[in-house]
């Protein structure tokens, strides 16, 4: 079915294809940026290079200066990590699900119930509120 590859080597070939795709895709971006850098005009002025703050002179800012933002974003990030990992666990189970019934069913239910415990907890903790 596959051209030029015995079944043994097929995955490797596919990964090579993947890398080629990735390189081409990134290459397009790089080429575009380079083209613009070469072709575009360069007439920078101080005002032009200032960060935009609705027309006022920018205060502070800059990378890594410890700008503060609502702690909520941290919470979302953490919740995401946790739930995403849960999802990652669920994928193999889902793929193998039909072969593993009935064990997998109880497994899945237990898993979802545990997940729900955490979900109810964050719900009650009002982590999911943005006000």
């Amino acid at each position: 079915m596959e051209r030029g590859a015995d079944p043994e080597r097929r995955p490797t070939i596919e990964y090579a294809n993947f890398v080629i795709m990735l390189l081409v895709a990134l290459g397009i971006g790089i080429v575009a940026v380079l083209a613009s850098a070469l072709l575009g005009p360069k007439k920078a002025s101080r005002a032009k290079l200032m960060a935009y703050e609705s027309g006022n002179d920018p205060e502070g800012g800059g990378v890594g200066t410890g700008q503060r933002f609502p702690v909520h974003f941290y919470l979302v990030a953490m919740l995401f990590i946790i739930f995403d990992i849960e999802t990652a666990f669920f994928y193999p189970l889902a793929v193998a699900y039909q072969k593993l019934i009935p064990f997998a069913f109880f497994e899945a239910i237990t898993f979802v119930l545990l997940l729900l415990v955490g979900y109810v907890y964050i719900l009650k903790k009002k982590v999911l509120e943005w006000a």
Binding site: V71, Y74, I82
Partner: protein
Amino acid sequence: MVPTTSYLALSGILFALGMIGVLTRRTAIMVFLSVELMLNAANIALVAFARSWGDPTGQTAVFIVMTLAAAEVAIGLAIIVAIFRKRETTNVDDLAALKG
């Protein structure tokens, strides 16, 4: 087929880098990232060994380790953020209220 020793060498290098990071870095975040590096070194080793034994147990172990890493991230970041918001530093050396 890439020999197992190559994978091990890679994982060893990663682990050593992580170790060096833990020992020399002074920012909590960097120490923490180094720890993650070490965990991934362990993952590589596990997968490499799993392949050489032809046994999927090692791969499931990687799954567990990834979860652990995620849980560690969540809790570790929470602690680091809590400290950072209070005192604007995560330099481990600045934490000296409890001195030995």
